[in-house]
């Protein structure tokens, strides 16, 4: 199907027909079969076996299934698997390559920003996108971004603290590496 989606040919998939979808999942090319109505969230979990992404409400409200599509955070339950053909999809598994927790995950651990962990994968993916765009957010901005997620364990306060902590540490890290560069100049 990747071939037919190129160029100016309208891609057609009849109901019930299963076709091969190829996407880049956390940097690796992966393929699987789906019919038109299969959701991206189910495809990632059931066809590709990446079960880090959780499925909660299936209508875009809870945020548990949030992934990155070409680097941008969005709900995988509000997207068809076939729409992801040829695209780059990043999930929570990509935050810990080589089984080493990333800085966001370490901060969540430090601040006890999760208990049952059901919502955490989606929240981490939202934070990863948002901090790329807004490296120095206010507490109000972090709360606004988190409003797209439901967490029933934490009361959100430790999540806010973890996100602000990561942002501060990243800025310090940058400042430190700039100082080192300056010293070597």
């Amino acid at each position: 199907m990747s071939n037919t989606s190129n160029g100016n040919v309208m891609h057609v998939m009849r109901q019930g027909e299963r076709q091969c979808v190829t996407l880049t999942l956390n940097g690796r090319e992966r393929s699987g079969y789906c019919e038109p109505r299969e959701l991206l969230s189910d495809f990632i979990r059931q066809e590709l076996g990446a079960t880090g992404t959780h499925v909660g409400c299936e209508h875009g409200v809870c945020g548990a299934c949030t992934v990155h599509v070409d680097g941008v955070a969005g709900r995988s339950c509000l997207m068809l698997a076939v729409q992801a053909d040829g695209r780059r999809i990043d999930t929570v598994e990509g935050l810990a390559p080589d089984m080493q927790l990333g800085d966001l995950q370490q901060a969540f651990q430090r601040h006890h920003a999760l208990q049952c962990g059901f919502c955490t994968a989606g929240i981490l993916m939202s934070c990863a996108d948002y901090l790329q765009r807004v490296p120095d957010p206010s507490e109000a901005q972090v709360r606004d971004m988190l409003s797209g997620h439901l967490c029933r364990c934490t009361g959100y306060t430790p999540i806010v603290a973890a996100v602000l902590d990561v942002a501060a540490r990243r800025r310090q890290g940058e400042a430190a590496s700039e100082t080192v560069e300056a010293a070597h100049a």
């Binding site: 989606s5 160029g7 100016n8 040919v9 309208m10 891609h11 057609v12 998939m13 009849r14 109901q15 019930g16 019919e35 038109p36 109505r37 959701l39 189910d42 299936e58 209508h59 875009g60 945020g63 949030t66 599509v69 941008v72 955070a73 969005g74 709900r75 339950c77 509000l78 997207m79 068809l80 076939v82 729409q83 939202s126 996108d129 948002y130 765009r133 606004d144 971004m145 409003s147 797209g148």
Partner: protein, 273 residues
């Protein structure tokens, strides 16, 4: 919570989408960002036979500013995020910049489209309200014809528009900031990002007040007054609150909706002065 079966067509050009709509218009739904449509499909509130995906139709993805014509034109596949994160938006269409933070959540605006929200025509949605408040218009296209409808003619009722089954909402056009205009936007909802129970947008100049109200009637309603003040303005807001025909529903009473129209209306007009 899985969609019923459908045929999937991915339009690579506008012509593909128009051909598909001409062929199966009544039975088809256009899938752009999917942030309303996919939820509706998952809950099986709609079961179209055909989905026409325009999310990869590059020629529909543009966001253009024409200073000469005084318009911001947003193509059918352009996301709300594409518009919201423009650094110049606050100077171009300040009312849009004020409204975006109220629209659902960051993660939804990343994929939801501006035209999709307008085409969906939810009476409590912010983008139809802003389009109506500013007097913007909707560009419709089918295989046979192009037409442009003012927002006031496009919105026809709850989830109802003047779009014909073979037509695509190709773009919407927001008037750019005009000298002397000031703006205000606010809404009341149960939680941040939820649908507005009442939403108000105001455009105020030295001699006029325009107030648009969403979430009460079956479509955004726009009212224009001279620069009323104090008790005159309170009286006009009260008349408007009754004219909108508020209804009791599971969330709040009609009386509370009228109260919100009077209070939020006053507040946005003050904010815009």
């Amino acid at each position: 919570m899985k969609p019923a079966p459908f045929d999937y067509l991915r339009a690579m050009t506008t012509q593909h989408a128009l051909d598909a709509l001409a062929q199966s218009g009544e039975d088809a739904r256009v899938l752009a960002g999917g942030q309303s449509l996919m939820a509706v499909l998952n809950m099986r509130l709609a079961q179209p036979r055909v989905l026409i995906d325009i999310s990869r139709t590059d020629e529909l993805g543009s966001v253009r500013v024409d200073h000469k014509a005084g318009l911001l034109t947003v193509g059918a596949a352009a996301t709300q995020g594409n518009v919201e994160w423009r650094e110049t938006l606050r100077d171009e269409v300040p009312l849009l910049a004020m409204a975006f933070p109220h629209i659902s959540h960051f993660q939804i605006r990343n994929r939801g489209t501006v035209c999709g929200s307008v085409a969906h025509a939810d009476p409590s949605a912010e983008l139809p309200l802003v389009l109506a408040a500013l007097g913007g218009d909707v560009m419709l296209r089918s295989r046979k014809k192009h037409r442009v409808l003012p927002a006031g003619e496009f919105f026809q009722g709850m989830l109802m528009t003047a779009r014909e089954p073979d037509e695509l909402v190709e773009a919407v056009r927001f008037p750019l900031k005009r000298p002397g205009e000031r703006y205000g936007f606010t809404e009341f909802s149960a939680r941040h990002g939820d649908f507005a129970m009442v939403a108000c947008a105001a455009v105020v100049t030295s001699d006029s007040i325009r107030l648009a109200v969403g979430g009460v009637a079956d479509r955004p309603v726009v009212e224009q007054w001279p620069r009323l003040r104090d008790e005159d303005l309170r009286g006009a807001l009260n008349d408007l609150s009754w004219k909108l025909g508020a209804q009791d529903d599971a969330h709040i009473s009609a009386a509370y909706r009228r109260h919100l129209v009077r209070q939020l209306g006053w507040r946005v007009i003050e904010e815009a002065k």
